[in-house]
């Protein structure tokens, strides 16, 4: 069983399926894809993220050995390696999976709206919705919390797929091994009030920026700022928002390892969208390790004219008339304090374990480290084994030592290898 349908989970599932194992891929949200589906481009190659991901999602879903259990959650685990019994709850979509064709007529007609979580709550979706255009499986889901029970969807559906009586379904599955690949969440910067997130309209997070820049996002890929829809001419990135922070009430002392990378990527993306804009990155250290990345930073400076300032801003204030932002920083060349005005500020928050991971760890009986990431039983000899034999983990849920997409993919494959190794000589039920 693979818990988590992000890129790491998808890779693990595909590899295991190719080896002849039957794989149940359990995913909490209505579609697989994970964080990579939300990205516009990947670094440092600037490839379209969905273009790389979508074929993998489809290949995985169509594999005869893979059974997708989306909109489902693991609720209980018994047994041991080779012989786990896992209780999975399939949350009701209120849509018959065998009948729905994903045509979307229901969504077009639905009168009820809700914030679109996939777009980081920037845009809206309907109560009956397809999470994103390339969703796998291609099914709509009804969000009962926002549904007004008008029944319009039922009336217009050409396949008669709406089933408002649907109940949650509990199934018990026999599996030989489990892989956890639950990925990450982004830290909420409103915990650091000096940066003005949620108080000032034009302070956004990097993920919100990704969704804005993405052609399938809430603005159709146009870089516009929240307060007035104007194109920002000056943009600031602030690194290390919440990371490398030992203060008791923040408590994320680690470096998230990919924020510098995605910041430079986003900065270059902005320059590609709006070549005349002025982009500045405020950093403490520019962690550009790995192949191609320092070169990418150099290109960002020389080719794209992005300004890198080594200074961590202390606070941001807002001009109430223009909604422009005033960033206070110290210019480390002249060693004097300045402020600069920007149309848009992008915060690069730290990456934290997914919400709900603590309960999952309890259900699985595995240990988490003191940051809430899954703990390897031995970081050197068995880095992908959790503290329970037969349960493995891959991708960012193991913690920020993972670099980026290729690393998550590599770990996904590696867990498949580990499982094959462990189960090879065992009596598997």
């Amino acid at each position: 069983m693979v818990i988590g349908g992000g890129i790491a989970g998808i890779q693990a599932s595909s590899d295991l399926a190719n080896r002849g194992f039957k794989v149940y891929l359990v995913e909490k949200s209505p579609s697989i894809g994970g964080r990579m589906a939300q990205l516009d481009k990947t670094f440092p190659t600037m490839d379209c993220s969905m273009c790389i991901l979508a074929p993998k999602m489809i290949e995985c879903a169509r594999h005869p050995n893979v059974q997708l259990l989306t909109y489902s959650e693991v609720r209980g685990v018994n047994g041991s390696v080779g012989n786990f019994k896992v209780k999975v709850v399939r949350k009701p979509r209120y849509v018959d999976e065998t009948k729905c064709t994903g045509c979307g007529i229901c969504s077009d007609n639905c009168p009820a709206e809700a914030p679109n979580e996939f777009d980081e709550n920037l845009g809206i979706r309907k109560a009956i919705y397809m999470p994103f255009p390339q969703a796998v499986p291609r099914l709509v889901t009804v969000d009962k919390d926002n549904c007004i029970e008008c029944g319009l969807c039922e009336n217009v559906c050409p396949a008669n797929a709406v089933n408002r009586e649907q109940q949650p379904e509990e199934i018990v599955l026999d599996v030989g091994a489990i892989v956890v690949a639950t990925g990450f969440d982004m830290f909420d910067p409103s915990v650091i009030p000096q940066y003005g997130y949620k108080r000032f309209k034009n302070v956004i997070t990097a993920m919100e920026l990704e969704r804005t820049l993405c052609a399938s996002g809430p603005t159709g890929g146009h870089l516009i700022r929240p307060s007035d829809g104007k194109i920002p001419r000056s943009i600031a990135f602030i690194q290390c928002v919440g990371s490398r922070d030992r203060r008791k009430w923040i408590d994320h002392p680690y470096c998230s390892s990919i924020c510098c990378k995605y910041a430079v990527k986003d900065a270059v993306l902005i320059k590609e969208h709006e070549p005349d804009s002025r982009v500045t990155i405020f950093y403490i250290d520019m962690r550009a390790f790995g192949r191609g990345f320092q070169e990418f930073v150099n290109r960002a400076k020389s080719e794209f004219g992005i300004l890198f300032i080594r200074s961590n801003p202390g606070e941001i204030s807002e001009n109430p008339n223009t909604n422009n932002l005033i960033v206070w920083f110290e210019d480390l060349i002249t060693r004097t304090v300045h402020n600069a005005t920007f149309d848009l500020v992008v915060l690069c928050p730290t990456l934290i374990p997914r919400k709900g991971v603590e309960e999952l760890a309890k259900i699985l009986g595995v240990e988490l480290d003191n940051y809430g990431f899954f703990k390897s039983v031995d970081a050197v000899k068995k880095p992908l084994d959790t503290t329970v034999p037969g349960i493995f983990a891959c991708g960012y849920c193991l913690g920020p030592k993972t670099g980026d997409v290729p690393d998550s993919v590599a770990q996904g494959s590696a867990t498949a290898g580990r499982i094959a190794e462990v189960l090879a000589g065992m009596e598997v039920s």
């Binding site: 203060r247 008791k248 009430w249 204030s317």
Partner: protein, 291 residues
Amino acid sequence: MKYAFFLGCLIPAREPNYEHSVRKIASELGIELVEMEGANCCAPFSIQSVDYASWLALAARNLCIAEEMGLDILTLCNDCYESLLMTNTILKEDKETRDKVNEVLADVGLEFKGKTNVKIFSDALYEDIGLEKVKNAIKEPFNGLRVAVQPGCHLTKPKRIHFEEIVAAAALDELVEATGAESIAYERKEACCGGPLRGINDEVALHVAKQKLDGVKTAGADCIVTVCPFCYNELDMGQLEIKRHFKQEYDLPVLHFAELLRMAMGMKLEDWEVKAHRIPITKILNIKETK
């Protein structure tokens, strides 16, 4: 409620109006303020700058006096609060330092045992008396008064010392609003008034005060309300000095929180108390008259 009343140095010397309002509120709300016989200066930042051990020993002496009285300390000044609270925290947690300080205190027949707590006036009202009781005591609310609350730096910072306490700035806002006034949001509410540099570097102090006053004025406040006598002095007298040096006027009267509360409880300010404000508070008194 009974407290060991720590007045500090600044209030008896310069701001008797603050003490007077506190005493009036105390008798109305049934708070007994017991004098700390022989208490010395808390050792504010100026003294802490000279020597670490001297600071701890002096502050600890006051804590010991309160311990012997079997009461918690009530202070009226943010600087005293910070000094006594920090000392109390350090000596409670660090045995080595505590032993060294007790060596010094032994000379004056005292020993720090860690039995008392330090409270500032607004926290004591909120935590120990309770917002409800304060609200019930309001007889003449200040409806329509727009107040810029100045919590002062040492009500809430450093967060790791104050963190486990209730969120003091929010408590102060609620208490101000209990009097019927509106606590408005303004830029740099958490910023310093400049007070600690008064007497050491007046020019810098004024520049800092100016930043604060600019923010308050832009937000359209009627007046400033503060818990700390340093803030009071810097923002009240400071406006006169800013008028002289920078040719800028704000006309923002500054009130002690205790004065605001006492007036809302139906006790008018006496003549000498009105005159104790360098920026005239007539418009605040007029608001009361017209209700």
